[in-house]
Amino acid sequence: MTRVAGKVPVIEIRGLRNQFGPQVVHDALDLDVYRGEILGVVGGSGTGKSVLLRSIVGLQRPTAGDVHMLGVDMRHASENELDYVSQRVGVMFQDGALFSSLTVRENVEVPFRAIEGLSDHARVALARLKISMAGLPRSAGDKFPSQLSGGMRKRAGLARALALDPEIVFLDEPTAGLDPIGAAQFDRLIRDLSTTLGLTVFLVTHDLDTLYATCDRIAVLAEQRVLVAGTLDDMLEVDHPWVRDYFCGPRSRAARGAIADQQGQG
């Protein structure tokens, strides 16, 4: 299941520090994300997984440290460079973060409106294509976010994140709050999209099943930094209490067993 990821880093984080008042969330945090891989970021509650995501995409200004994304220094980037990056990056927020006054299709159309000269026909058709790629039925396009279930909202958020064919997609807890069947479908969707579209995926999650089913590499956040980053097999050999509890706990064993069963059958 591990793919040959060309070792070209698309995101490089060096010495990142995030501090809110006296509370230090990250200190001297280093992390690389390589082109084409699916990186899962795990960590206990309050270890700053979402803060890390926000500082990479530029929603949160780090106290210190450098973030390079697609070769652009995010801290000292010009408007044009930030535009360049934002066209090539998609973010799916936890609950989809859809605009509540627009239908799902109109939500997905929003990024297309920035493209000059695009016809209405193309915009609508492309929005429908993305909605269908995210695994939503066609009828969902005409509904408002409040009329959708949590899982469908997440899919709609993914459709919008994928609109401009980004090179990197950030997913914030994509399977949180979904039923196991919906979560498994979402895992498969992420995997399929990443293969067919050649996406690099940065995935923040708590869900062990998602980690086992989709991620090429895992980064563990603890003690204000990336404690360890590597494949799942690497994780099992790490001698750190939190990592051991996380990957060798009862839930983890169950998830690993389930994946092994699936692979055995397949």
Binding site: S100, S101, L118, S119, L126, L129, S132, R138, S146, E167
Partner: protein, 380 residues
């Protein structure tokens, strides 16, 4: 993206008109930015029997270009032309077929324009909404009254702390704005009244003008309008956001009654505070009038006060202040009711909040008009 970039060659599209066949050659890296040009190219293709879309020189395409190619091929096929897509790179061929599988098949249903029937239905719906609005107003009013009586009978259920808190929020904190507004109204009345009455040499009647209009109508009405603006919206926002976060459902499951906990303290605080605010408005309105009469007309404060006491019937004060509790109940109940009707999205919270303010102000003015007729008939 369909494949790794070999080199980032600029994308380009070239057309050639062969013998009965239109050739379109794609090359380089093509993305969404090139789509408007491509659409233009496709739209201006000459009509021929066959169409050939040649992707053999393409390095990379994104899903929007893939969609455009597939869409154009389908269009050509629907028009009875033969259409072919030539691809050499297997990665791009795979990508095209993936996108094709995802393009929804069914066509858009044409939108039905607004018909007369829709308009009539819209009016009917609005009337029905008005009816349900009145019903839910009555419901919250009933809830308030019944819980108030329960609170009197069983004082243990009464929330004194909440009442005190809301009295501070709706009463004390509203004093500066209410006093200032009323003071300015007093000044305006004195100024305008004086310039009219001076024509008849009847300047001294400006005192009666100010006293009657402020005490009987303006003091309490403008106070109620200010309170409707700042308090009805606050009630709706507070209760509505609790409703959104399911706090009200949680209260019910814990055996707490939203009537006792939310409605009674708020509405009762308004009922208690509104007469006080009205009194403050009256006093500061008269003070504004006094000041302006003194400066502009030379009516000394002593003369103003004597004239005020002699010329103005005390009933004006009672007529004015008697409206306060009624306005208070209207504003409070409308604010709470709008809060309870908030749905589970933030948009409805905003809509209900502004709706509560508009409805409360309208209700206050309507009630004031009814009071005028009522007191006229009574001869007060």
């Amino acid at each position: 993206m369909a494949s790794e970039p070999h080199s980032s060659r600029e994308g380009s599209v070239r057309t050639e008109d062969g013998d009965g066949v239109t050739y379109v050659f794609f090359s380089g890296t093509l993305g969404l930015r090139d789509l408007p040009d491509l659409e233009h190219t496709f739209a201006t293709l000459p009509e021929r029997d066959a169409l050939s879309l040649d992707l053999s020189d393409v390095d990379q395409i994104d899903s929007s270009i893939a969609w455009a190619i597939i869409d154009r091929r389908r269009l050509a096929e629907a028009a009875g032309e033969t259409a072919e897509v030539i691809v050499h790179d297997p990665a791009i061929a795979d990508f095209l077929s993936t996108v094709e599988a995802d393009i929804p098949r069914t066509q858009d249903q044409p939108r039905v324009p607004f018909s007369l029937q829709d308009r009539v239905a819209g009016i009917g719906e609005a009337v029905a909404t008005l009816g349900t609005g009145l019903a839910s107003f009555a419901e919250v009013l009933g809830l308030f009254l019944s819980r108030l009586v329960q609170g009197i009978v069983r004082p243990r259920e009464f929330r004194l702390t909440a009442l005190a808190y809301h009295c501070e929020a709706v009463g004390l904190h509203a004093v500066p704005i209410v006093a200032l507004m009323s003071f300015l109204i007093g000044i305006v009345l004195a100024f305008q009244g004086a310039s009219q009455l001076r024509q008849f040499g009847a300047e001294v009647y400006v005192v009666d003008l100010i006293a009657i209009s402020v005490l009987r109508e303006l003091g309490i009405l403008l106070t109620a309008i200010i309170v409707a603006g700042r308090t009805a919206s606050a009630f709706t926002a507070a209760i509505g956001s609790m409703k959104m976060r399911e706090e009200i459902d949680a209260m019910r499951t814990l055996g707490l009654d939203p009537g006792h906990a939310l409605v009674v303290p708020r509405v009762l605080a308004l009922v208690l505070m509104m007469p006080i605010l009205g009194l403050i408005a009256n006093l500061s309105g008269l003070f504004g009038g006094l000041l302006m009469s003194w400066i502009d007309l030379g009516i000394s404060p002593a003369l103003f006060v004597t004239r005020l006491i002699d010329g103005t019937d005390l009933s004006n004060v009672f007529v004015g202040l008697s409206k306060a509790p009624v306005f208070a109940v209207l504003i409070g109940v409308i604010g709470c009711q709008a809060g309870f009707s908030v749905g589970n999205n933030a948009e409805s919270l905003g809509r209900k909040t502004s709706q509560a303010v508009v409805t409360a102000i309208f209700a206050v003015i309507l009630a004031d008009a009814l009071f005028s007729i009522f007191y006229q008939e009574l001869g007060l």
